[in-house]
Amino acid sequence: MDLAYTPRQQAFRQEVREWLAAHVPAERLVTLERKEGFDQHVAWERELASGNWGMVTWPSEYGGRGLDLIEWLIFEEEYWAAGAPLRANQNGIFLLGPTIMEFGSDEQKARFLPPMARGEVIWAQAWSEPGAGSDMAAIKATARRDGDHYVINGQKTWSSRASFADWGFGLFRTEEGSRRHKGLSFLLFDLEAPGITRRPIRQLHGDPGFAELFFDEVRVPAENRIAGEGEGWKVAMATAGFERGLMLRSPGRFQATAARLMALLRETAERASPGLREDVVRLWMNAQAYAYNTYQVAARIMAGGSIGAEASLNKIFWSELDRAMHRAAMHLLGPAAELRTLPDGRANEWLEGYIFSLSGPIYAGSNEIQRNITAERLLGLPRVGAG
């Protein structure tokens, strides 16, 4: 064990810090859950790409820097400490990108990855259906083969980024009459394709962050299928693993939130009860623990290990930590917690963040599902419904 950063890592941190200091927008962007803000965030994606910071862990042939996981952690620490914007393309960067790298053909990698890295194509995910949320094998949307095309019919819902994004990815039933996880295929589709109707859904905060998608005889080229026909479940499980795992929620983000929370505690110290003070300090400790855990997992992966069902532990922990930190901030703000804009003119980021944090324990497989996975696959308890 060696917890010192190497000179190379320190130099890299300095390089990231300087670039961000020179490029992070001084004005806070409008939320990417609105069209205006989404466009601002896309512009930021392209700014990042101009400095070759869009996909730092990707191989350089696809527009990345080929960095290792420790360097990625350093990048993310600096990114969040600099107050840089949320990533509009996170579905592409953290979910679809790794999926294509693992399961895509060379042609698909060359076609889809570089534009993703350049921020030219923003991706939405289309996993869920009205009857298939955490129970994703209940998917009903169909893709019927017609020559060298699939013809898609059905509905997806709660599709993050789909109100404004360019392309989507999701699972469709390609074998008529198949059940559960069999007969599904993983398809990529242009959200502007004829026959797709998007209906933005107002989320809890009032903005249309995600959308319903209706497919009416939508023609998708067969070459947009990732892996084989009927192999969609296997691919989707890998994607879901990426979603729960290391990449989507880097510790730097939660440490930055914890640091802001500690600052808020100092500002409101005269009002904070001892119990609330301890809550905040404990949450700061948990943000640190999350970082240590991630560094440990990253070091293990770099040495040839893998992350499996532990991703569920990770997902439970960060999502509940994020919610608890924002809840503590709401309590620290007291009566001001209800204001959308604080008396000093700043947006009430804690309120927005609290609302957003409520989605963490729900998406990417609800935490109830993650607890089942933990109990069954890590602890070896019997499956739900089995005696």
């Binding site: 064990m1 060696d2 917890l3 010192a4 950063y5 190497t6 941190r13 420790i70 620490e77 600096e78 969040w80 400490a81 510790p251 730097g252 440490q255 930055a256 640091a259 500690m262 100092r266 003070r277 301890e278 300090v281 404990r282 700061w284 400790m285 948990n286 640190q288 623990a289 999350y290 970082a291 240590y292 855990n293 560094y295 440990q296 990253a298 070091a299 293990r300 040495a303 532990e310 532990l313 990770n314 439970i316 922990f317 109830e368 993650q370 607890r371 089942n372 933990t374 109990a375 069954e376 890590l378 602890l379 070896g380 308890l381 019997p382 499956r383 739900v384 419904g385 089995a386 005696g387």
Partner: protein, 310 residues
């Protein structure tokens, strides 16, 4: 930057785990509870594995390991609910004696011939003393009043707190294992209770808590090995978090065992009671919280994502 455990320490800890699993089962705990709290054959086995000399320099007949390796062994002592006084002597006293340059007893300690339990003002009582005067909730822990004028050496405190945290992690892991094993065999309503979500989610919560305590513990041990000024903060973080996780593990385990868990006949109680004893030893939860708060809010420790390993 490489936050992985040293392979040689992991291998030794696994060997200790196997040895204790084979020789220090619940039958031994019950026998020791019924009469006398030592088993010199088990002690001799630990000596032969080199554990009394784990942190003793090779020049004095030991293995010369660092505290990180010691924390891994302390965790195994917790997992086995070990009755032998290995931790206080080999993992607390030895590094403290070395730091003070008092190396005279090290060879005898490494040979398993001398036991040392150092008093500290933070502990009103000393465990494993001669002639138990005080009844602990832990039936295997002989308490005697601390001698007058016990010191308040901060290094000693951190060593005691670190190794207590490590034992709490091992105790928690063992209690989780016992609860999982019980949930797999105990049937109610025609099913193993481990199939019910209420049980699964309770056990998953313990698994989550432990997953995020372990790296804090390794971080604290390494901080002490590296002599960081922030080491006391990391040690307190480990003790505080390990205490909370251990109480969660103990309470979840007894709940899952149901009425069986509330008996002296089921082994779980040994682990629970050790948990309660160690939670209060070497600085209780409140003490360690205060140290963390002072460091974190007082500005002694830089905050934020750029300071993970600062």
């Amino acid at each position: 930057m490489d936050f992985r455990l040293p392979p040689e320490s992991v291998e030794l800890a696994e060997a200790v785990r196997e040895y204790l699993a084979g020789t220090h089962g619940s039958d031994v705990l019950r026998r020791l509870d019924a009469g006398g709290n030592r088993d010199l054959r088990i002690w001799q086995g630990l000596v032969e594995m080199g554990l009394t000399g784990l942190l003793v320099p090779e020049s004095h007949g030991g293995l010369g390991m660092r505290l990180l390796g010691g924390a891994l062994i302390a965790r195994e002592c917790g997992r086995a609910c070990l009755a032998e006084p290995l931790v206080d002597t080999a993992l607390v006293a030895v590094p403290w004696l070395i730091a003070r340059g008092e190396t005279g007893d090290l060879a005898a300690i490494a040979a398993g011939e001398k036991l040392v339990a150092l008093p500290h003002t933070i502990n009103p009582w000393v465990a494993d003393g001669e002639g138990a005067e005080l009844a602990s909730v832990d039936p295997l822990r002989n308490l005697v009043a601390a001698p007058e004028g016990a010191g308040d050496d901060p290094l000693l405190l951190d060593l005691g707190a670190l190794t207590s945290a490590a034992q709490l992690v091992g105790l928690s892991e063992a209690m989780l294992d016992q609860a999982v094993a019980y949930a797999q065999v105990r049937e109610q309503f025609g099913h193993a209770i481990g199939g019910f979500q209420a049980i699964k989610h309770k056990l998953a919560d313990v698994a989550v808590a432990l997953e995020f305590v372990r790296p804090v513990l390794w971080r604290a041990a390494q901080a002490m090995d590296d002599g960081l000024a922030s080491a006391p903060l990391h040690v307190s973080h480990a003790k505080y978090a390990a205490t909370d996780a251990a109480y969660l593990a103990a309470e979840s385990a007894i709940q899952i065992h149901g009425a069986m868990g509330y008996t002296y006949e089921v082994d779980l109680h040994f682990w629970m009671k050790r948990t309660w004893a160690l939670s209060g030893a070497w600085g209780d939860r409140n003490f360690h919280y205060r140290r963390i708060e002072d460091a974190a809010l007082g500005g002694a420790h830089p905050l934020g994502p750029q300071h993970t390993f600062a």
